[in-house]
C-alpha cells in the first residue's frame, strides 16, 4: 500500500510498474499468453541442453589416469538429422502461434463507434487529439474502461512532428513507433481502471528519458465528465500579461488567441498529474519552478528559460493555475 501511496503522491498513478506479465488490457493479454508458450519452450530447451552440457562436463573430464586419447568420433548423420528435424518442428509450432497472435492484433477490425484518438509525438512530449470530440490535450491519454459486456476499445493513430518516437505502456499493449511522414495505428482494450505509466521507447534526443506517458483509464461516467471539462473554454480573466508575453507563440489555450502548436496545449494544465511529460509532479511549487527555468528540470528540452522577472512569473503562474 505504501508503494501505491508514494506512487500516487509522486504523480505516477496506481500502476507505475509496467510489468509485461501483468497485463491489464488486450492486446497486452494476448502477448502475455503467447509468452507463456514461448517461455516454456525456451525453458525446456535450456534445461535439456544445459543439463546435457553440465552432465558432459562432469562425466567426461580428464581424470588423468591414462595417457590415451579417447575414441576419435567424427560424427553421425543420424544424430545430425535428428537435431535438425526437432528444432524445425519447434520453429514450426512457434511460427504458427506467432502468426495467429500477429494477425489477431494487427488486423483487428475497427468497430464503428470506437473511440478514435490521434497521438503526435514531439521532442519530448505527446500531443493528444480526439478529432471526433474536438479535444486537444497533452501527455495524458484518457480512455474509458472496457469490458466483455460493454466493449469500448480505443483506436490510436500515431504520427510524429519531428523524429521517431515509440508509444509503450507495457500493461496495455506492445509498442508501436511514431514515425514522421507515416501514420501507424494501434488499439487498446483496457479491462482495469487506473493510471498506467509508459515511456517513449525510441531514442529521440536529449530528453528521451523524460518523455513519459500516462494512460488514464476511467469508468465511463468519469471519462464523459473529463471530456466535458476538456471541452469547456479554459480561460478566465486576468490573463492580459500572459498574452502579452511570447508564451502564445508556442502554446495554445482553447478559446483564446493563444494558438501556438510547437509546445503542449495548456488548456487544462491543472488537470494533469505531471509537468514536462512526467518530468515532475504538478504542484504549485513545481509549476512555478518550471515556468521560472524549465532547463533546470528537463535540461535540453525545447522550452527556453524565458527570463521572467518576479512580477511576470507571479502573473503567469497565477494564470496557468486557473486553467482547470
Amino acid at each position: 500500500m505504501w508503494c501505491l501511496w508514494t506512487a500516487v503522491a509522486f504523480g505516477q498513478g496506481d500502476h507505475p510498474v509496467g510489468n509485461i506479465f501483468n497485463p491489464q488490457a488486450t492486446p497486452a493479454e494476448s502477448i502475455a499468453h503467447l509468452s507463456v508458450l514461448v517461455l516454456s519452450v525456451c525453458g525446456a530447451i535450456f534445461l535439456i541442453v544445459g543439463g546435457l552440457l553440465a552432465f558432459t562436463l562432469v562425466r567426461f573430464r580428464d581424470r588423468g589416469n591414462d595417457g590415451h586419447e579417447p575414441a576419435q568420433v567424427y560424427g553421425s548423420n543420424r544424430i545430425e538429422v535428428a537435431w535438425t528435424v526437432i528444432p524445425f518442428l519447434i520453429v514450426f509450432v512457434l511460427s504458427m502461434a506467432t502468426a495467429r497472435v500477429v494477425i489477431a492484433i494487427q488486423n483487428k477490425a475497427v468497430p464503428p463507434h470506437a473511440l478514435q484518438v490521434t497521438v503526435i509525438g514531439h521532442q519530448w512530449w505527446w500531443e493528444i487529439r480526439y478529432p471526433e470530440l474536438a479535444i486537444v490535450t497533452a501527455n495524458e491519454l484518457h480512455i474509458p474502461v472496457s469490458s466483455l459486456a460493454k466493449p469500448a476499445p480505443a483506436f490510436l493513430k500515431l504520427q510524429s512532428a519531428d523524429v521517431a518516437h515509440s508509444f509503450w505502456v507495457p500493461q496495455l499493449a506492445g509498442k508501436t513507433d511514431l514515425i514522421p511522414n507515416r501514420t501507424n495505428t494501434m488499439w487498446i482494450d483496457p479491462r482495469q481502471t487506473g493510471t498506467f505509466l509508459g515511456n517513449c521507447a525510441e531514442y529521440c534526443g536529449t530528453q528521451h528519458a523524460n518523455m513519459l506517458l500516462r494512460v488514464v483509464v476511467q469508468p465511463e461516467a468519469e471519462f464523459n465528465s473529463w471530456v466535458a471539462a476538456e471541452k469547456a473554454i479554459a480561460v478566465d480573466s486576468g490573463a492580459a500579461l500572459f498574452f502579452s508575453l511570447s508564451c502564445v507563440n508556442c502554446h495554445a489555450v482553447s478559446g483564446t488567441s493563444a494558438t501556438g502548436t510547437f509546445g503542449p496545449d495548456l488548456s487544462h494544465l491543472m488537470s494533469r498529474a505531471t509537468l514536462g511529460s512526467g518530468a515532475i509532479a504538478n504542484t504549485p511549487e513545481t509549476l512555478r519552478a518550471w515556468v521560472k527555468d524549465p532547463q533546470a528540470i528537463k535540461p535540453g528540452n525545447l522550452m527556453p528559460n524565458m527570463q521572467l522577472n518576479v512580477r511576470e512569473l507571479d502573473a503567469v503562474v497565477s494564470y496557468l493555475s486557473s486553467l482547470k
Binding site: V17, C42, L53, L57, P70, Q106, S166, R182, L197, G205
Partner: protein, 558 residues
C-alpha cells in the same frame, strides 16, 4: 661467415645491414603476423576505453534520478560505446584473428595482398581515432554535443541537419566509413588468401573450421557493409547537399534508413559472432581430445547462417508498423536461422561428449561461452516472436540479449583465444592462476550485470534513458547491474597484468603447448617471418594428429 640458419633467422645482420628500429619495423610492416598483433592490440585498447564508458553509464544508472552525468554526456557515451564496440573492437578482432592465423593454418607464407592488409589496419586506426577525436573537435547546437549522440544505429531523421546540428553526427559517419573500408579490405584479403594460397592437398574440405568460419564472415562483410556505406553516403548528401533521402519533410522515408541500416546490421551481428565460433571450434576439440563432431554439418550450418542471415533484418523493425505478413515472414525467418545456430551448439556438445575434457583457461572460457550463448540464443527466439518483440524491443531486455551475445559469447571466446594463442604469438605461456582469477571475476561480473537487465526490460524499462524515476520497479535490478561492473573491471585488470607479466616472465611455450592438431602448431613460437621453412602438404583436416598418430590417422576416415 653466415650460415644458412643465420641468413634465414636474421637476414639483415647476416648481410651486414644494421637492423632498423623496432618502431619503424612495426610502422611499415606488411607481415600478416605483425598486422594481426596490431589489430588485436588496438581492438583491446578500444575495448578498454569503450568499457570504461559503459562503466560510467552504469554509475549514472545505479540509482534513480542519478546526477553523475548530464543527459548530453550520457547520450554521447551510449552512442560512442556502442559504435566503438561494434566497429572498433568487434570487426578488428575478426581482422586480427584472420590475419594472424589464416596463413599459418593453411600453410601459406602471408596473406594474398600484404600491402592491402597494412592499408586496412591503418585506415581502421585512423577511423577509430577520428571517432574519439570528435570529443575534442566536434560541434553541436550551442555546446550540445561534441561526440555523436544519436545512438549507434543513428536513426533518421534524428540524424538530419534539422535535429542534429553541428558536426558530431558527421564524425560518426566518417569514422565508420573509414574503418569499414578497412574491414572490407580484410575480407577481400581473407577470401583471396583462402581460395588461392592453401598449401598442397589442402582442399576446402580439409581446412580448419576456423578458416571456414572466417571465409563465410568475409563473404558476409563483402555484401553486408556496402548497405551501411550507401546509407551513410546518402545521409551525408542529405546533411551537406540538401538531398532528401531521409528528409521526412520533403517526402523522404525514415523507414528507408532503418531498412538499409539493418540489412547491414543483421549480418553484422553474425560477422561479429562467427569469429568467436571460429575460436571455440579450435579450442573445444583440442581440450576435449576429440575431433570436431560433424565437421561437414558445422560447415553447412555456417553457410546456412551466412545465407539465411540476410533474410531476417526487419526483426529489428517489428514495431515500425509493417504489415502483418511482413512481420510474420521476418519472425519465421529469424526463428529458422536459429536452427543452424542450435546445430552448432549441439555439435560442440557432442565433441565434448565422450572426450577427456581438460579445464585449462581457454576451455573454461569456451564452456562459459556455450552456456551463455545458449541463453542468448533462447532470448533471441523470444525476441523473434513478433508480438513478444512488441513488448521487449527497445527495452533493456534487448540490451541484455545482445550483451549476452557480444560479451557472454563473443568476448568470452576472445578471452579464451587470447590464452590459447598467446603462447604461439609470443613464445610464452600466460599464467593459469591469473587466468582463473580473470575467468571467475569476469563470469561473476558479467552475470551480475546482465542477468538482472532482462528483468528491467520485462518491467518496462526502455533503452537509452539517462535516468529513471523511483517507484517503477527498476531500482534493485539497476543497482545490482552496476555493482557487477566492479568485478568485470577487476577481471580485465587480471588479464592485462597477466599479459604484461607473461610477455617477459612467462614459461617457455615451445611449438605446441596444447598438443593440438592444426598447422600453426607445427612451426616455432613465435613463428619465423616466413612461417614455414618448407611449405607443408596435408592429407586430412588434422595434419598434426596424422603425424602424432600414424597408426590411426584422420585421412583413413575422412
Amino acid at each position: 661467415m653466415a650460415t644458412i640458419n643465420d641468413i634465414l633467422e636474421r637476414p639483415r645482420e647476416a648481410e651486414g645491414v644494421p637492423p632498423p628500429s623496432k618502431l619503424h619495423d612495426w610502422l611499415v610492416t606488411v607481415d600478416h603476423k605483425r598486422l594481426g598483433i596490431l589489430y588485436i592490440a588496438t581492438s583491446l585498447a578500444f575495448l578498454a576505453v569503450a568499457g570504461l564508458q559503459a562503466a560510467l553509464m552504469r554509475a549514472q544508472l545505479a540509482f534513480p534520478n542519478g546526477k553523475v552525468l548530464s543527459p548530453e554526456v550520457f547520450n554521447r557515451l551510449l552512442t560512442v560505446h556502442g559504435t566503438a564496440m561494434v566497429f572498433l573492437v568487434g570487426m578488428p578482432f575478426f581482422a586480427g584473428m584472420a590475419n594472424y592465423l589464416v596463413p599459418l593454418m593453411i600453410g601459406a607464407r602471408d596473406m594474398a595482398f600484404p600491402r592491402l592488409n597494412a592499408f586496412g589496419y591503418w585506415i581502421y586506426l585512423f577511423g577509430g581515432l577520428l571517432l574519439y577525436f570528435s570529443y575534442i573537435a566536434g560541434e553541436g547546437l550551442a555546446g550540445h554535443g561534441t561526440a555523436p549522440d544519436v545512438g549507434w544505429f543513428a536513426y533518421a531523421p534524428l540524424t538530419e541537419r534539422a535535429f542534429s546540428r553541428g558536426t558530431s553526427t558527421d564524425y560518426w559517419i566518417l569514422s565508420i566509413v573509414l574503418s569499414g573500408i578497412g574491414s572490407t579490405a580484410s575480407a577481400i584479403n581473407v577470401i583471396a588468401t583462402v581460395i588461392s594460397m592453401r598449401c598442397k592437398r589442402m582442399t576446402l574440405g580439409r581446412m580448419p573450421l576456423f578458416v571456414w568460419l572466417l571465409l563465410v564472415v568475409s563473404g558476409m562483410v563483402i555484401f553486408a557493409l556496402p548497405p551501411l556505406t550507401a546509407a551513410q553516403i546518402m545521409l551525408l548528401l542529405d546533411r551537406y547537399l540538401g538531398a532528401h533521402f531521409f528528409d521526412t519533410q520533403a517526402g523522404g522515408s525514415a523507414i528507408l534508413w532503418q531498412h538499409f541500416f539493418w540489412i547491414f546490421g543483421h549480418p553484422e551481428v553474425y560477422i561479429l559472432m562467427l569469429p568467436g565460433f571460429a575460436c571455440a571450434s579450435e579450442i573445444i576439440p583440442v581440450f576435449s581430445r576429440k575431433p570436431m563432431f560433424g565437421r561437414a554439418a558445422m560447415i553447412g550450418a555456417t553457410i546456412a547462417i551466412g545465407l539465411l542471415g540476410v533474410s531476417v533484418w526487419a526483426h529489428h523493425m517489428f514495431s515500425v508498423g509493417m504489415a502483418a505478413t511482413s512481420n510474420i515472414f521476418f519472425a519465421v525467418s529469424t526463428m529458422l536461422v536459429g536452427v543452424p545456430t542450435g546445430i552448432k551448439i549441439f555439435n560442440w556438445l557432442a565433441t565434448m561428449y565422450g572426450g577427456k575434457i581438460r579445464f585449462g583457461t581457454p576451455m573454461m572460457f569456451c564452456v562459459a561461452f556455450l552456456f551463455q550463448f545458449l541463453i542468448a540464443g533462447l532470448t533471441g527466439i523470444m525476441l523473434a516472436v513478433a508480438p513478444l518483440n512488441w513488448q521487449l524491443t527497445d527495452s533493456y531486455f534487448v540490451v541484455a540479449h545482445f550483451h549476452y551475445v557480444l560479451f557472454g559469447a563473443l568476448l568470452f571466446t576472445l578471452f579464451g583465444a587470447i590464452y590459447y594463442w598467446f603462447p604461439k604469438v609470443t613464445g610464452r605461456m600466460l599464467s593459469e592462476r591469473l587466468g582463473k582469477w580473470h575467468f571467475w571475476l569476469v563470469l561473476i561480473g558479467f552475470h551480475m550485470t546482465f542477468d538482472p537487465l532482462h528483468f528491467a526490460g520485462m518491467l518496462g524499462m526502455p533503452r537509452r534513458i539517462y535516468t529513471y524515476a523511483a517507484g517503477r520497479g527498476w531500482e534493485g535490478v539497476n543497482l545490482l547491474a552496476s555493482i557487477g561492473v566492479i568485478f568485470q573491471i577487476a577481471g580485465v585488470a587480471c588479464l592485462v597484468w597477466n599479459i604484461v607479466r607473461s610477455a617477459r616472465h612467462g614459461a617457455q611455450a615451445g611449438k605446441d603447448p596444447w598438443d593440438a592438431w592444426t598447422l600453426e602448431w607445427s612451426t616455432s613460437s613465435p613463428p619465423p617471418e616466413y612461417n614455414f621453412a618448407v611449405l607443408p602438404e596435408v592429407r586430412s583436416s588434422r595434419p598434426l594428429w596424422d603425424l602424432k598418430h600414424p597408426e590411426d590417422p584422420d585421412w583413413k576416415y575422412e
